[in-house]
């Protein structure tokens, strides 16, 4: 099986996943008690105005018909209008998604780099003090929820030490670079504005670390154990026995097979990023899609809820395809597809 058909198969699976998610969230959002039209217009609105809005939103139709209207809209790129912001949902998503993506990307980098480094060090110095310290750190990191980490970070770095900014995406005295991608890091680079780049990066550090914390340590533990596992394998003894230097074995022959479970676990943690972001964005006053989605849920803003969840599902599906590709690239046994024997 070549890489292209592998990719096609994964994309095909992802479509089903996203459609499934959309059906589930569409139903759940409508089954929850409360009349969205009434909530949007307020207690004071006259009944006939509310009734008109209900008809406009097809809320008087059976749920499968509602889904049909919604789906045909989405396929045309129309996610409907938000009842809270009175803007098209797609517009809201365009405004809020990049802020969250920026956190996710920086968190992803932190997760990958730190988990591999910490895991490898722990494996290399296994059963020593160093391993013990990383182990204890990992237990704390995994056990403490992201929003607590975020609060502590704000207290320590923002309040006591004043070393890192704790609110928003950019300091108020910095000019915002012209919007191209919506990612401030990228936009400021395009504009050649290094001051804004540095400022945006500093703003990202705390929220991204809070989001990345748990997954980083979980992945570090996985890296450690798979590496310790591989160290005892015959191929490592054989490579040493054939005179390949220790350093090269560690950085090449041991690292690559040990990263396979790490990458898989990090892929799963992407779901965590979206989930942790809800609270972290609130705490850091981050204008991201998670905060937007949270408000949508609280005000039963049906179109916004569905839109946000579908976008999140899409992001998750895309990330999973990427993870599958990375794993396939690391592991020929997957790429070559269940060769017999072995």
């Amino acid at each position: 099986m070549d890489l292209r058909s592998f990719l096609l198969r994964r994309v095909f699976h992802s479509i089903f996943v996203v459609v499934g998610i959309s059906i589930v969230i569409f139903c759940i959002a409508r089954l929850v008690p409360g009349d969205p039209a009434r909530m949007a217009l307020g207690e004071e609105a006259p009944d006939e105005v509310v009734e008109r809005l209900r008809q406009e939103m097809h809320l008087d139709k059976p749920i499968y018909e509602q889904y049909y209207y919604w789906l045909t809209g989405v396929l045309r790129g129309d996610f409907g209008r938000s009842l809270v912001t009175h803007q098209p949902v797609l517009q809201d998503i365009k405004e809020t998604l990049p802020a969250t993506m920026e956190i996710a990307l920086v968190a992803g980098v932190i997760m990958v780099v730190l988990s591999i480094i910490l895991g490898s060090i722990a494996a290399w110095y296994r059963d020593t003090v160093i391993d013990g310290i990383i182990r204890v750190m990992a237990y704390f990191g995994v056990a403490i929820p992201g929003f607590v980490v975020a609060t502590v970070f704000i207290l320590v770095f923002g309040y006591y030490w004043h070393v890192l900014p704790v609110l928003g995406r950019l300091s108020s005295n910095i000019s915002v670079p012209p919007r191209v991608t919506g990612l401030l890091l990228v936009d400021s680079l395009i504009a050649g504005n290094m001051v804004a780049f540095k400022d945006a990066l500093l703003h990202l550090l705390l929220p991204a670390s809070s989001v990345a914390m748990a997954s980083t340590f979980q992945a570090a533990r996985i890296t450690r154990s798979s590496m310790v596992d591989n160290m005892q394998r015959d191929f490592v003894a054989a490579e040493r026995g054939y005179g390949i230097p220790e350093r090269r074995i560690a950085l090449r022959y041991l690292l690559k097979p040990s990263l396979i479970p790490t990458v898989s676990v990090l892929g799963l943690s992407l779901a965590n990023i979206i989930e942790t972001s809800f609270l972290v964005e609130l705490i850091f006053n981050w204008p991201g899609i998670s905060r937007y989605g949270m408000q949508a849920i609280l005000s039963k803003d049906l179109n916004a809820i569905s839109g946000v969840v579908v976008i999140a599902g899409l992001g998750f599906a895309v990330a999973n395809v990427i993870v599958d590709l990375v794993v396939a690239n690391l592991d020929p046994r997957i790429r070559l597809g269940g060769v017999k024997g072995a």
Binding site: D234, A238, G241, A342
Partner: protein, 326 residues
């Protein structure tokens, strides 16, 4: 002609650290290999054959393996006292080991070429490490083990090849650069009998062609008889008998060797051969005297308390048993 001793293991002990103490696996083991000699090491599973061989290359897991006593002299130098650079030279020029299971001995996520060429690269002096030269040696090594279509094999992953091919690749890794001693750990045992036979024939041919010494580890007495000049019989971490191959089969002395020979099924029939009752001792708390004593029908009180010395019974025949004391 005075024969040159290539490898001389003297009183080697290897212990494994485990919860609750040490597994005292290899116990006062001594073994010699002369230049150009083919030596067999025979014993049942778990008797410490592979541990001993890994100790020679210092590739035992350092975190758990402990060598309290013993010397491993290779060409006059003690392997156990070698520094990093000397070890590197020993491994890339002196001794190479062929592992028992070719599937686990090859790294699953690198191509055969990446692995084989790396072995060659670090065996060559730095000024000779050109890509083209390394590649040529790799192709040549695969030709020597009769693998066709070398370019394709170099680009394959182990999972794409058959067990027999993987075993040949493992052998090719051990012969990329001339070595003085090959250690073959039950080559082909994990493969079917016809392939195993081919692998053994290939090994014999390579050893004869290059004049390499070989230690062949096996639990098959038949293989040992065909392939070797001299045989060491190992039981529970010690050598119990050593003799030229023909002598050993004609005139086994140690009760364990006698039992081992009797337990080989014969084609002429007579039902399933008898085994030796009992099993290998617990290494955490091995018997004080002779390690074979609990399974030996001929033992007496002395065997309980004292380790038997290795006795020279003449003609290069040695046995570790009190019964042959004069």
């Amino acid at each position: 002609m005075p024969e040159e001793i290539l490898l001389d293991i003297k009183g080697l002990n290897v212990w494994y650290r485990v919860y609750g103490g040490y597994l005292k696996v290899v116990h006062n083991l001594s073994l010699q290999v002369y230049r150009g000699e083919r030596v067999g090491l025979v014993g049942e599973a778990g008797c410490g054959k592979t541990t001993t061989m890994k100790a020679i290359l210092r590739i035992l897991p350092e975190s758990v393996a402990h060598i309290p006593r013993g010397e491993i002299i290779f060409r006059g130098r003690d392997v156990l006292k070698m520094n990093r650079a000397e070890l590197q030279k020993l491994r890339s020029r002196g001794i190479a080991m062929i592992f028992q299971d070719p599937t686990s001995a090859l790294n699953p996520v690198f191509t055969v070429g990446e692995q084989l060429e790396d072995v060659i690269r670090f065996a060559l002096p730095p000024e000779e490490r050109q890509k083209k030269r390394i590649h040529d040696i790799a192709v040549q090594a695969l030709k020597e083990v009769y693998l066709p279509d070398q370019e394709r094999i170099l680009q394959s992953y182990p999972v794409q090849l058959s067990g027999g091919m993987r075993q040949r690749i493992c052998i090719s890794m051990a012969i990329t650069t001339p070595r003085e001693l090959l250690i073959a750990d039950e080559p082909g045992t994990s493969l079917d009998v016809t392939i195993q036979d081919q692998i053994l024939r290939l090994l014999r041919e390579l050893v004869e062609k290059h004049g390499t010494s070989i230690i062949l580890i096996t639990h098959s007495l038949g293989v040992a008889r065909q392939m070797t000049d001299r045989i060491y019989v190992m039981y529970a971490g010690s050598i119990v008998e050593a003799a030229p191959s023909a002598t050993l089969f004609k005139e086994p002395l140690h009760p364990y060797t006698v039992g081992l020979l009797a337990s080989v099924p014969k084609i002429s029939g007579g039902g399933i051969a008898e085994g030796i009752p009992g099993r290998i001792p617990n290494y955490l708390n091995p018997p004080n005297g002779c390690r074979f004593q609990p399974r030996c029908s001929l033992s007496d009180d002395r065997c309980l308390s004292q380790s038997p010395p290795i006795l020279d019974v003449g003609g290069g025949h040695y046995v570790a048993c009190f019964r042959y004391e004069r």
